[in-house]
């Protein structure tokens, strides 16, 4: 059940209504929300519902065992088991084919045929997201940052439908306390929720889907047919598409949660305005960045050891972050590329090479450099092989007419990047003005938005890019 569909609209109206009606009855609310979220997840493939339920039970058992035990050794043993089980599940469903084919192909170069079975395994939607949420929960319980939650609370947290399949990656410490805070049904931040939902739908349906069909997919499928300007705009177009697609999804998720009285963490903050790669990762998929920081980078030692160890930790974190995105070497290389850039920036900063006056010119240069380094990374991310990466880069030298760069494509690319430079105060003022509209005017504005969304977007509903992760 994709967000921009009539099915989801009907589902959401029912859930939103029940959400506020059942508010005084906490237990019934939780049971209803769990059932609705499982229904939402099961609508993709009901078989994977058992995986979600299994993950819930497994992690809750581990959390309860750790909560009851005072022996640090057994707590560590339970945590190790839970982490191994979570990683095992994700490895099986997401990486089995990748690992097996990589091993077979590697040994084949030495003339050895590995008799490993090749299985057809379907990737359950959202597995990377709910597994990371479950891991954060068991690790936080182990670290005694939180007590084990009641089973029903944890089940609702893991399955809560807005963020279930593509984030943001919400921490249990952020979500579960909200199950107990008294929400005031007389004071709903409707304007905030509506603005996020409509904005997210616009990003996905109009910007991302249009760019994908108009330039990005053709350029990445057969770059040899396009001239340098078309390929360049295709790459910029992908930068805008992936941002609009993913941030659009999380905007809708956060907006839906807002209308139900929940607060989710932000996931994007104008990433293409970043002044450095480090700054980019503070603005892009922020909930994944902080997850990797807190549960991988810092446990590896973070920046507490020698300079070399810090670089190693950065590289390892980003390599695994790359692999999290997909089971292919191009994703690993993309992660390594960002790890290397982060290490290089750190080295420059630590050795005093990154100093200088903070002038407008330097800031513009820093933004342009960062954006283009990120775009180079997106080529690695989007291309299906390194050969295709080479093909795309080589086309950047072949200048000629560019009929695919239409005014509409240019407007979406320039607009998609330019909108990130609009001061946030302006956006806040706009939403605050919207909030002061009378309900009838608000309704008219929303209905008009629906007309524009359906009218301006290409026909059909394309899945969100981050669903595959």
């Amino acid at each position: 059940m994709l967000f921009p569909t009539i099915q989801f609209a009907i589902f959401f109206v029912v859930v939103l209504t029940a959400n506020w009606l059942l508010l005084p009855h906490r237990r019934q609310w939780k049971l209803f929300m769990l059932g609705a979220s499982w229904f939402f997840y099961g609508s993709w493939d009901w078989r994977f519902l058992f995986l979600l339920i299994g993950s819930t039970v497994l992690n809750q058992v581990a959390a309860v065992l750790m909560g009851r035990s005072r022996d640090q050794r057994s707590r560590r043993l339970v945590l190790g088991g839970a982490v191994a089980a979570n990683l095992g599940i994700i490895a099986w469903f997401k990486y089995y084919g990748f690992f097996v084919t990589s091993a077979i192909n590697f040994f084949r170069t030495f003339g050895i045929d590995l008799p490993l079975p090749l299985l057809e395994i379907t990737l359950p939607v959202g597995i990377s997201f709910f597994t990371f949420q479950a891991l954060s929960y068991v690790i936080d319980v182990y670290r005694q940052k939180e007590e084990p939650a009641p089973l029903l609370d944890f089940a609702v947290y893991l399955a809560f439908f807005p963020q279930l399949v593509a984030g943001p990656i919400v921490r249990s410490t952020e979500f579960i306390p909200q199950l107990y805070t008294r929400k005031d049904p007389r004071r709903v931040d409707a304007a905030g929720g509506f603005a996020l939902i409509v904005g997210g739908l616009f990003k996905k349906v109009v910007v991302a889907n249009t760019l994908a069909g108009a330039i990005v997919d053709p350029v990445f499928a057969s770059p040899s047919q396009f001239t340098a300007l078309e390929v360049l705009v295709g790459v910029y177009g992908y930068a805008v598409q992936i941002y609009a697609d993913f941030s659009g999804y999380t905007d809708i998720a956060i907006g839906a949660a807002t209308l139900m009285g929940f607060t989710f963490p932000d996931n994007f903050n104008n990433p293409y305005t970043a002044l450095s790669i480090q700054d980019f990762w503070r603005r892009w998929h922020m909930t994944l960045s902080r997850w990797l920081r807190d549960y991988l980078y810092i446990p590896l030692g973070g920046n507490r050891g020698t300079r070399t160890r810090t670089y190693r930790n950065l590289m390892l974190t980003m390599l695994l972050g790359g692999l999290w995105h997909g089971a292919a070497w191009t994703f690993v290389i993309w992660g390594g590329y960002h790890g290397a850039l982060l290490a290089w920036e750190r080295w420059r900063s630590e050795t005093g090479r990154a100093t200088g006056p903070d002038t407008p010119g330097r800031r513009i240069l820093a933004r342009l450099t960062t954006f283009h380094l990120v775009c180079l990374g997106w080529i690695l991310f989007r291309a299906d092989s390194m050969a295709r990466v080479g093909e795309i880069l080589s086309r950047l030298l072949d200048w000629g007419p560019a009929p695919s760069v239409t005014p509409a494509v240019l407007a979406l690319v320039v607009g998609g990047i330019g909108v990130q430079f609009i001061p946030s105060d302006f956006r806040v003022t706009l939403v605050n003005s919207f909030s002061r509209l009378r309900p009838a005017a608000m309704t008219a504005a929303l209905a008009g938005s629906l007309l524009l969304l359906d009218g301006l977007g290409p026909e059909g509903v394309a899945p969100f890019i981050y669903f595959q992760f």
Partner: protein, 340 residues
């Protein structure tokens, strides 16, 4: 140029007017209902294109009166204006062209007598006078088409146009009427070669011009589907085009495998009766070592790669390249185009 950090949403919300939950629900429901009327023609078309079944029946039954009211009250005009400004072909549901299921003689006038086939000699192709190729069909073209286009263009002697429509095929001309579209392509582009890929969505009940349906897995379905395939081949052949009709690959679902076998046999048998049509077999190209479905197959260098998407039907890029190379070898041999 200073870009400010976004203030936390909590602080933004403090400065914002709030409304009661009941009003929120009312606003959501009302705006969705108005949106339903404003976009009624498009939503009705979406409902109509679904496969026959209870979901389609209910969707169409609900949307038909809404679309009629929307039209009567002029509520659909803003949407029509947007479509017209964007130059989109989104006909009103009432104005959907009647399906072209009649024999080719009833299709728009051809440039030559239907009984006389053009010469069976292929023209000479060169870089100055390249082969014009139209690659069209359902979602199977989505990966395969660009890869064939990419492969062919490397010779410098082929120019291609790739067009595909999700959920389309020969069973549902009420949604997209491919025969009519191919006539338009023949007139406007006049390609030397049509590479056509159908079947991915055709194993469903067939829509007939009188609005009735022929159920899938029946002898009547096979007869009607065979006739439609024959119609398309005849139509293009009589207009002087050469056709490469793509077969479907082995699929993961055993139920679907039986239907795919049937459709492939229809394509192959009908193609044999048309001298300008070549059937390109894809089933065995994607069989595993045991003759069954396999997601992973060796590429040209012998490395095992993922050739099929998780749905067990469509191709990954690697799979599409495999089929595109195979297909282009056949086309290149026919048209005497050097492969490099």
């Amino acid at each position: 140029m200073a870009v400010e950090e976004a203030p936390p949403r909590e602080r933004q919300a403090e400065e914002r007017a709030t409304i009661p939950a009941g009003i929120v629900i009312l606003v959501v429901v009302t705006s969705l209902l108005i949106g339903l009327f404003l976009n009624a023609p498009d939503i009705l078309r979406t409902a109509q294109r679904q496969e026959p079944g209870w979901e389609r029946t209910i969707g169409v039954a609900l949307m038909e009166p809404i679309a009629a009211v929307s039209h009567f009250l002029f509520l659909d005009r803003p949407r029509m204006l947007i479509d017209s400004i964007l130059g989109r072909e989104r006909p009103e549901p009432e104005a959907v062209t009647p399906p072209t299921t009649a024999p080719p003689a009833t299709t728009p006038a051809t440039t030559m007598p239907a009984t006389t086939l053009p010469s069976d000699t292929r023209r000479e192709v060169s870089a100055a006078d390249p082969l014009i190729m139209y690659i069209g069909g359902d979602s199977m073209v989505g990966q395969f088409g660009p890869m064939l286009d990419n492969r062919a263009s490397k010779t410098g002697m082929v120019e291609s146009e790739v067009v595909y429509e999700f959920e389309s095929g020969l069973s549902r001309p009420d949604f997209i009427d491919w025969p009519q579209r191919l006539v338009r392509v023949s007139e406007d582009l006049d390609p030397d070669v049509f590479v056509l890929y159908f079947g991915g969505n055709d194993a469903q009940s067939i829509y007939m011009p009188d609005g009735s349906w022929i159920e899938v897995d029946t002898p009547e379905w096979e007869e009607e589907y065979r006739r439609r395939v024959d119609d398309v081949m005849t139509l293009l052949e009589e207009r002087g085009h050469w056709v490469y009709w793509m077969g479907l690959p082995i699929v993961s679902s055993e139920t679907f495998q039986e239907r795919v076998r049937l459709m492939n046999s229809i394509y192959e048998e009908v193609a044999e009766a048309h001298p300008r049509v070549t059937f390109i077999e894809a089933w065995s190209l994607f069989e595993g070592p045991d003759g069954g479905y396999s997601e992973y197959l060796p590429d040209e260098e012998g490395n095992l790669v993922d050739m099929r998407l998780d749905d067990g039907v469509h191709y990954t890029t690697a799979g599409a390249i495999r089929l595109a190379n195979h297909t282009f070898e056949i086309i290149a041999e026919d048209w005497e185009i050097p492969l490099e």
